[in-house]
Symmetry: C2
Subunit: 204 residues, 2 copies
DNA sequence: ACCTGAACACCGTTCAAGT
DNA sequence: ACCTGAACACCGTTCAAGT
């Protein structure tokens, strides 16, 4: 009992285990993290600021895969599009984290930094101050929404004979695999075209 | 004890109470619903198919506010845009239901019917079968994503002095109230323009 | 410093028993 | 038919106590 010679727990291992549990089961719990790491539930609280603290660590972990270099590219629209793709790829690797992250505010400094850079990019590109957040929020909705679609390959709509939906069934069959990817590409194209048009009109 | 002369519980009251709890606290629990209705926790299970059943009732309740008549309008793009606005208004009234609904498949027949109609509309408008679901999914992401933004007025990003983000703070201040509404309008305009362009190019 | 072990209030779910 | 009351396995969180 008491303290082991080599620590059982640390923030790194706790985050990794939480992410594993989410990828496998869609959720995590403090007791299950502790069990996987061979420790008691209470011990986790010595390393982490409760369940919410773990959620914020997860945000940092997943967002660490976003390539910050994308935002340095030129021109601005190439940078924004590359950022969106990198952003989406990061969450596509762990789509089931999204519902967990969407209900709590972004605190993680490294993630806030990314937004800061994105805002700076659009300011430098000449966008009006008041339209920058709507742009970033719309892009973020697109990215996270379409990444979330990756979680339930074909089970977003549970078609039954009880409610006949022939056209819906047909449309689902016609798009097949990669439904979520196509929705992302479509949304991204629409967004980028509109962003470019917005900027042009602002120069008039 | 035993059975009261006038029933304490029914699906309607259970759904209403769950929705009240979500609007107030962001979540619901079976015991809390029971307590508000003056019944025991176990009694709820005689009317409803567990917690998941309540979630599906919530989906039906919130979606009932979507005007199905919008999809009958002409031309097709006016119908789709009106549907999107009605869809968003329904969820804007109860934005905190969104995280709850996003992780479970749509089973409610009345909701499936809405999708069936939307697919039919786009088929009739001449869209290719394979691009209809991407269109609907992209629109849905836009609607739900921007409705979810309504939950946390200004607390989506928790800016601290620890991580200085002057441009982000400036952009947030510049957009002010109605941030989520602006992101929706921007996204919707982008989406509708792209949908029209897609259809035109398909006719070539 | 790091962990245990027990406690607390809270979940979702089931089910015999009552009227 | 409708509800109670008790049970079960599971949460998140705290904290004295141990080494």
């Amino acid at each position: 009992m008491g303290r082991p010679r080599t620590p059982l727990l640390d923030r790194e291992r706790i985050t990794t285990t939480a992410l594993e549990l989410i990828d496998e089961c869609g959720d995590f719990s403090v007791p299950r993290i502790a069990r996987r790491l061979g420790a008691q539930t209470g011990s986790v609280y010595h390393h982490v600021d409760g369940r919410d603290g773990i959620v914020e660590l997860l945000r940092e972990r997943v967002c660490a895969a976003i390539d910050p270099g994308t935002l340095e590219r030129t021109p601005w629209d190439a940078a924004l599009e590359a950022w969106a793709r990198s952003y989406r790829a990061a969450f596509a690797a762990h789509p089931r984290t999204i519902p967990l992250l969407m209900t709590s505010p972004v605190r993680a400094p490294r993630v806030l930094e990314q937004y800061e850079r994105a805002v700076s990019l659009l300011l430098a590109a000449g966008f009006d101050r008041a339209e920058i957040m709507p742009l970033i929020i719309a892009l973020e909705n697109l990215v996270l929404g379409s990444a979330l679609d990756l979680t339930a390959p074909e089970i977003m709509w549970e078609l039954t004979d009880h409610a006949p939906t022939p056209h819906l069934a047909e449309a689902l069959a016609a798009v097949g695999e990669g439904r979520a990817d196509r929705a992302f590409e479509l949304g991204l194209t629409a967004f980028m075209n509109h962003a470019r048009a917005l900027r042009e009109s602002g120069y008039r």
